[in-house]
């Protein structure tokens, strides 16, 4: 079955939760089955084999269900069973609904034997998948949820996100997904959020990654996952926007800003005032541009530090928290105007710092 057909069938299933009427939910299942059947049929015609039957259909339906991981599947199925008019849940609809029920039952009770694989290997894979999942869900608890990354999740087409998410996740598809189903859906959401963040990184760096690119990078990103979480803990406001901040954050930010200025002044005095810090040197060219415009807007401002230091401070602040610059200083327009530039710089800095 072609990848595109598989995705199509998955989408039909994923739609189920968005409908309210039992009839509509059932229609989603039926159209998913139809898509699968069409693909099996065309595959059998092109390979000159017998027309497909249940022997071929059920495994594909199970695979599609695992890949789609539809929201609230169990509840939706029970809901249809209970509230779809019994005189309508007959014949073909009843048959394919039963297939869906049995696919769900199979996934729910999945074990090594059902997958015809070694018991030890199965356990090992399940454990590692669970470790990844639980690690992610605890990490994301104390991670501030930047609205920016939310947006990016919705901006990207679902299929593009869906593919790498699962591929990267599970070295072995069946097992990984089996364990996925044992977990509450929140953990996937956080997962897809952070994945979305990565995707956003990719986009903002100017690349347009294809699905297979994303899949390849998925594994690598997973390795970096811990480091990213570290970044969030160290620089909690790094990806925030002004809308995310509350009044109570202002105190915190002001404090951090003062500390930062103090530390920077001390550091730069210790270094003899001239040596630029590594992050600055990376984005030096952009800093020059920024500084030129800054000079003009800051003409009236009382400056206690010399020009060079001031410029660097602004950059440092930018690294720690781009929004802060915009809020505290008079050059908010400037900060917003060059928002994307600053963010690119930040990322470059971070990439440097975290390898």
């Amino acid at each position: 079955m072609g990848a595109c057909g598989c995705v199509l069938a998955q989408k039909e299933l994923q739609k189920m939760n968005t409908y309210k009427a039992p009839r509509d939910k059932l229609a989603c299942i039926l159209s998913c089955c139809k898509v699968i059947n069409n693909f099996l049929l065309s595959a059998s015609i092109s390979s000159n084999e017998n027309p497909p039957g249940a022997d071929e259909f059920l495994p594909v339906l199970i695979y599609v269900t695992i890949k789609a991981n539809p929201q609230q599947l169990h509840s939706n199925l029970l809901y249809i069973q209970r509230y779809r008019r019994q005189s309508r849940l007959v014949a073909e609809a009843a048959y394919f609904f039963t297939n869906m029920l049995s696919a769900e039952a199979f996934i729910r009770n999945i074990d090594a034997k059902a997958l015809s694989m070694d018991e030890m290997e199965y356990e090992k894979n399940i454990e590692s998948a669970q470790a990844v999942l639980s690690g992610l869900s605890t990490d994301s608890d104390d991670m501030p949820m930047p609205s920016q990354s939310h947006q990016s999740v919705w901006q990207l087409p679902r299929s593009e996100l869906g593919e790498p998410r699962q591929e990267a996740f599970n070295p072995n598809k069946h097992q990984g997904s089996a364990s996925q189903l044992q977990f509450p859906p929140q953990s996937f959401e956080t997962k897809s959020r952070s994945e979305g963040l990565h995707a956003k990184d990719q986009v903002s760096l100017g690349k347009v990654p294809s699905i297979s690119d994303l899949e390849d990078q998925g594994g690598f990103m997973l390795m970096k996952e811990e480091k990213v979480n570290q970044v969030f803990r160290d620089f909690p406001y790094l990806y925030s926007q002004s809308g995310d901040l509350t009044i109570s954050d202002v105190d915190d930010l002001l404090n951090k800003y003062k500390q930062l200025v103090l530390k920077y002044v001390c550091l730069s005095k210790g270094l003899g005032d001239a040596a630029p810090s590594p992050p600055v040197s990376i984005s030096q060219s952009r800093a020059q541009n920024l500084a030129v415009t800054e000079k003009e807007t800051k003409a009236s401002r009382a400056v206690t530090l010399n020009e060079a230091t001031d410029r660097d401070i602004n950059l440092k602040v930018g690294v720690t928290d781009a929004v802060f610059v915009g809020e505290e200083n008079s050059e908010s327009k400037l900060a917003q105007g060059s928002d994307s530039n600053v963010k690119n710089d930040q990322r470059e800095c971070l990439d440097q710092a975290h390898g």
Partner: protein, 215 residues
Amino acid sequence: MARAAGNRNIQAKLVLLGDMGTGKTSLVLRFVKGQFYDYQESTIGAAFFTQVLSLNEATIKFDIWDTAGQERYHSLAPMYYRGAAAAVVVYDITSKESFQRAKKWVLEIQRQGNPNVIMVLVANKADLDTKRDVGNEEGEQYAKENGLLFFETSAKTAQNVNELFYEIAKRVAKAVPLRPGGMKLHRRSQERGRRLFCCSGSSPFGSDDCNINSW
């Protein structure tokens, strides 16, 4: 279960069981497509079929449910054969293993299924007689012992395929009582639901009851 209504139109669910590759699907396809008229192309396709057979005594509409034969899906089977009027257990005469599997199916349905279900043992791929691994007598003997119908068929040559389904249809027609009882009760209760409401339009709280001027 089979349902009858009015002038003996019977709807019957028929479930196909058997190991993978025994030709369950081909058997049904031969039956469904081989008929002079196709009653109704199923809208979704593979694995579910309907076919109407007209007998003297009744018209039978079969809903034919195909099942996945792989051993790993064995535990899911009860969902499929629940409520079936007939169960067709298929094995491949060139495979001893599929015969053993068929015996397992028979045993399971006898134990868990509806006791009135019409059970048929089908030895498929009769055209591959040279590669035969399960003797005709062997299957027939087992069927006799367990009170099953027995057919040796070939989906490829259409041998015995129509006979198989006609025999099932006859049995279904015989099994369904002439006077359906439960259905009528259901209809009546629906009609009773359409009772007229009695709306006199008079309010229990007339203006006299809450006359402010009285005090």
